[in-house]
Symmetry: C2
Subunit: 390 residues, 2 copies
């Protein structure tokens, strides 16, 4: 048969992370690779109660088709949970926030459209946008986030800037208050909309991060949120908040993509939110992840301070960012690390251009504190073994 | 702000069905409009037991991220349930079969690509393909399905034919054995792949429909199935079976779209399938829908035989297809029908070209038998009131 593929399909290739997750699924490997929440935080009992209650109280409605916009009480609770004035009518429930990226790509990106991203940026966003064939342009970024002057110099004709200001994936960094203020002002000056992705914002350790970009200019931003990190990713439940100007097109793209997000899942989570469960639950995730971050920082200090390796100290989220001695290549190191029983993700695939091969992303939430100590020691051993060979 | 939309967004408009569902959601309206399964068939108890069992036995895995391909045991059971030799590795679990249409559009349709569809065809497929800007070409069709000669005359350069051979949406018709044999042979001759959509195939009333097109030529077909009509649409659970040649691209598109279909939902349904629940459950849906079809046919005969209205007698599924006296316009009749307490979907939006304004789709599964009698009488009254005005 003649299966002629679309041109856009030529650029679709297996995700690097997918491949690495296969490696790190080998028995006995301690994995710092995946961005998987700690399964210890999943509230099994509360979830079972909520499932049963939804089925008993309104089960037939929960299992039926429903509105593409999402379950009305959930939209209302999402709107009420956000730190600026949000109308529930502007909330669209999505099948994970990954779907929000797909929908935005569909309605905002033409072939060759300029899309600005951080350096480095979330790989899943690059994958979601890729089928629409954008011209991805990386904006310089440092430990405080996006370099606003570089942003302005690249703003001309850009369809939007994609930014993840809180505990970013992959670096774990957080955009400072001053940077946020400057960025939003410059985006308004240049007329460039911002897509703000905030899956990790609730996972702060000591103090909450500064206010979202969207709170400062709701008409010029789309905001993406998720229940994956505060409840459970296996539900595939996220949302977006969009200005009226583009909401109807996003809704239509949503309907064409999967009709609606599973109604049952929406109602189960709405029930949990109604009971105030999240307010009690999220602090326990923060405490756990903070302890695991501290363990990893201590292990890095103990094992790698003398190896010319550097790392940052994220104030929340799931990841930290490591730079190997310059000249060393994290991608080439990986198979040797796996031989020594530990996996990570090399940083290069997260760069839209000019990758820094010495970088790597470490997740501190999937492995236990005991595993973190063993895994960081194994990683240090691997680095020592290869420092001569760099 | 300057929200510049993609060109493809210009063609995205609210679905006609969406608008009609809003009308028919008015209190007191008997609706033959939506393609919604009877909520009476949803197995609440079995579902609650399955949720609890999944959470107790392997809850943390059920709530975690998982493979984009789908839950392995579910892929195996889907493969085993199909009436030809299917390798589980060729099964991709999707977020409803609507998502399968979206993924196929992404990897197979370039701007201007010729895509062949039945006349009339499933509106949701047209919506799913539209963002990729195909050139949709309608193939003549009659009560037995696709006109194979017309198909062959339009085959040149077509990326694929989209067909729904069993109890089609919107017409309820079924493609005959002879037609299937001819169509598959001609598709092989002309090298045109077939996308076979089969959400209703299990809902036969007296005898099963002929073997799927895909069973006759798996390398030249993608097959789409769904749990929405045999279990519950609120789960958003479907699947596709694709040849190795295009499976990796579909998988990649799936990953970029929503990472994976909700893992919890997949495991709950896998658990139900393992227990043999579907084999016991589906015959009860068949019996219910057959009784409702019979009620609607009898009501049509009683109320409309003298009105110069014609209809078909579907052998399964959820819909039947009505043609008003020629010259009458179903779309113009609708608001008057709603005034009389009954709603339907006009046939025109289901035609990719040359719509027949006298046609309408009636669902016989959402309303009860009592409502069907009342609703068909109200529809007949509306037609009588407007026959002079045609």
């Amino acid at each position: 048969m003649a299966w002629t593929q679309a041109r856009r399909a030529l650029g679709m290739n297996p995700s690097v992370i997918r491949e690495i997750l296969k490696i790190s699924a080998k028995p006995g490997i301690i994995s710092f690779a995946g961005g998987w929440p700690s399964a210890a935080t999943f509230p099994l009992e509360a979830f079972e109660e909520s499932c049963a209650a939804v089925l008993r109280d309104d089960g037939r409605a929960a299992l039926q088709y429903s509105a593409s916009e999402g379950f009305e009480p959930l939209r209302e609770m999402v709107a009420a949970s956000l730190p600026w004035q949000v109308n529930p009518a502007d909330v669209l429930i999505t099948t994970g926030s990954q779907q929000a990226l797909d929908l935005l790509g569909k309605i905002l990106i033409d072939e060759g459209s300029r899309v600005l991203v951080e350096t480095p940026t979330y790989l899943g966003a690059l994958q979601a946008f890729a089928p629409m064939e954008p011209d991805i342009v990386g904006v310089n970024s440092d430990a405080d986030g996006i370099d606003v002057r570089d942003f302005a110099s690249k703003a001309d004709g850009a369809r939007f800037l994609y930014a993840l200001p809180n505990f970013q994936n992959p670096t774990g960094r957080t955009m400072s208050e001053a940077r946020r203020r400057d960025l939003v002002a410059r985006a308004q000056d240049t007329g460039v909309p911002i897509v703000e992705d905030n899956p990790y914002g609730d996972l702060w350790f000591d103090v909450p991060p500064p206010a979202p970009l969207t709170a400062r200019n709701p008409e010029g931003c789309v905001y993406l949120g998720s229940f994956s990190k505060v409840l459970a990713p296996g539900l595939r439940l996220g949302y977006l908040v969009a200005p009226r100007e583009i909401f109807p097109k996003l809704l239509h793209a949503k309907q064409a993509s999967d009709l609606h997000t599973p109604n049952f899942n929406q109602r189960v989570v709405a029930r949990l939110m109604e009971s105030g469960f999240l307010e009690r639950h999220i602090p326990s995730i923060r405490a756990l992840y903070k302890a695991q971050r501290d363990t990893m920082l201590a292990a890095l200090q103990r094992e790698m301070a003398r190896l010319d390796v550097t790392w940052n100290e994220p104030a929340g989220g799931m990841f930290l960012w490591v730079r190997l001695p310059s000249g060393m290549d994290a991608g080439r190191l990986l198979p040797h690390a796996v031989d020594n029983g530990v996996a990570f993700v090399a940083g290069s695939p997260f760069f839209s251009n000019a990758p820094d091969p010495a970088t790597m992303r470490l997740s501190f939430v999937t492995a236990s504190v005991e595993q973190i100590d063993v895994g960081i020691a194994a990683l240090a051993k691997t680095i020592r073994e290869h420092q001569g060979a760099k």
